[in-house]
Amino acid sequence: MTVLEQTRAPRSDVRPRRSPLGSRWTPYLFLAPAAVFIGLFQAVPLAQEIYLSFTRTSLLNPTRSTWVGLENYAHIFSDDDFHRTLVTTLIYVVACVIGSVGAGLLVALLLNRNFRGRGVARALVTVPWAAPGIAVALIATWMLNPQYGIVNRFLDAVGLGVPGGAILDSSTYALPAILVTTVWQLFPLTSVVLLSALQAVPRDLTEAATMDGAGRWWTFRAVTWQVIKPTVGLLALLMTIWSIRRFELIWLMTKGGPVGSTETLVIDLYAQAFDSKQLGTAAAIGMVGVVISLIVIAGSRLVTRAADKEGLR
């Protein structure tokens, strides 16, 4: 009898009146408000954009769209301007990632020592990241002002002045200027994150290596780099995705000009939608950006997995 009761006991647990964490619907109740919200304001618009990218739709009459299949994609991929946009995006993203992660690593290594005022230094280094993008675009534009900008005064003083000083009006110098501004805004984040990753580097190991007469570079590569490598990878991924979607800094500094020299995918998409009023083309450009981001994310997953397997061997 008792045995029977015991074997039955679990069965009655299958539908408890109140299980430890409520019924099996409980998680969905917690999830539902946010899911509905994100669905309505992210998933539905995304689905609409995917649909739009296969249609010809004008901003002036957005409710009337004509299904054109892959025409928008065929159009942009045969367009030389779009090829230039892709190349500009590639240059911008790669330079942003290398610049922000590289500068962040240098600063992190610099601050990863005990010295007086380290706390103040760490706090001040965070400032660019905290500054609103709008304000950054505004002050950068003023600092780069051809006549009164401090940057030109400085460059002139050291003999590197750009003729006429119109850096943002030059198809050669506008992109580098935007890059420097972007990296200035991003390096605090990468350096602070890398600084916390560096705390995991075993001190005695680096010290032992130095004692054994290993050079600094060798110690960095053999010890420090091995510890922070995953963090560097994650930061590079995050910086890539953010840089592909960055809009306001570029838009406010150059609007993609001069002659398209700073036009990234997102700038192109915005201009197509609101200047050319071609919502279908704009959506197709946006989808190209989204697909590139997806490929980057999937690629980084593969690399991480391969690296993990390597480590297990």
Partner: protein
């Protein structure tokens, strides 16, 4: 020994240079705001602020819409913070404490929202807001901003709840407390710092947001400061000093708050957004 000295000196110089580079643009904003016209357009740049010009901040506040802009930004930012925290806490709790079908998918979906450009979503959201009469309203901007920042907020809060031992809930379970009670009574008080960090991130996401604001708002009295300040770029009517003074007052709260909450924000960002 002298080589060691040299290395130390170089390091100190490098640290000072980095600090200078980090702070200079905002310092320059301040100096420009506090410049007389003659200094501003002189052939030699004046590198120090001229404090006799301090009235420029009062002028900037008195001028036109500055206060309205800042007030609108504040309303949008507070609304976005409340909404995203309010929805983010239960979402983070569900992801942290339960295993359920679709959990992995939910997490991946939250991470993937990080790659969607606002500029792409502007058009469909415009159509949606048009249908529900949300154009030209601050509530519309609050909804759009909260949707974009909610995934980060939820991931940060999930990370925080992960760090709280489940045993603390056991006691509540024995007492027959419902999950909602346990969330509110046990978890929320313990993740206070992370909630603060997420709130700072949500607040300044909305404070700084530009694309939605410039597209969805027409009425000048509804404009937030981001749109107002951006309208100064390339415009020549307003004195540079006033422009910089407004921009500085817009920037200062963001920087001050980040410095104040830096520790938690960085911990939250690294735990939630970066680690995933």
């Amino acid at each position: 020994m002298s080589r060691l000295r040299l290395g130390l000196t170089l390091r100190i110089v490098a640290v000072l240079v980095v600090m200078g580079v980090a702070v200079f643009p905002l310092y320059w904003m301040f100096v420009t705001a506090l410049s007389s016209n003659s200094d501003l357009f002189a052939s030699e740049a004046r590198l120090l602020p001229d404090f006799t010009q301090f009235g420029v901040f009062a002028d900037a506040l008195a001028e036109g819409e500055t206060l309205t802009w800042l007030r609108n930004s504040l309303v949008i930012a507070l609304g976005t913070t409340a909404l995203s925290i309010g929805l983010g806490i239960p979402l983070g709790y569900a992801l942290s404490r339960f295993s359920f079908r679709g959990k992995a998918l939910t997490t991946v979906a939250l991470l993937l929202t990080q790659m969607l450009p606002e500029a792409l979503m502007v058009v469909p959201l415009f159509a949606l807001f048009n249908r529900f009469d949300l154009l030209d309203t601050l509530s519309g901007l609050i909804l759009a901003n909260a949707a974009f920042v909610l995934p980060i907020v939820a991931l940060i809060l999930k990370g925080a709840i992960d760090g709280i031992p489940r045993e603390l809930e056991e006691a509540g379970r024995v007492d027959g407390a419902r999950p909602l009670t346990m969330l509110v009574r046990i978890n929320v008080p313990l993740i206070g710092p992370s909630i603060a960090a997420a709130a700072v991130i949500a607040f300044f996401h909305a404070w700084n947001e530009y694309v939605f604001a410039v597209t969805f708002i027409y009425a000048p009295e509804m404009q937030p400061a981001s749109v107002g300040i951006a309208s100064f770029i390339g415009e020549v009517g307003t004195p540079v000093q006033t422009v910089m003074a407004v921009a500085f007052m817009f920037t200062l709260p963001a920087v001050a708050f980040y410095l104040f909450a830096q520790k938690y924000v960085v911990a939250g960002m690294t735990a939630g957004a970066v680690k995933g």
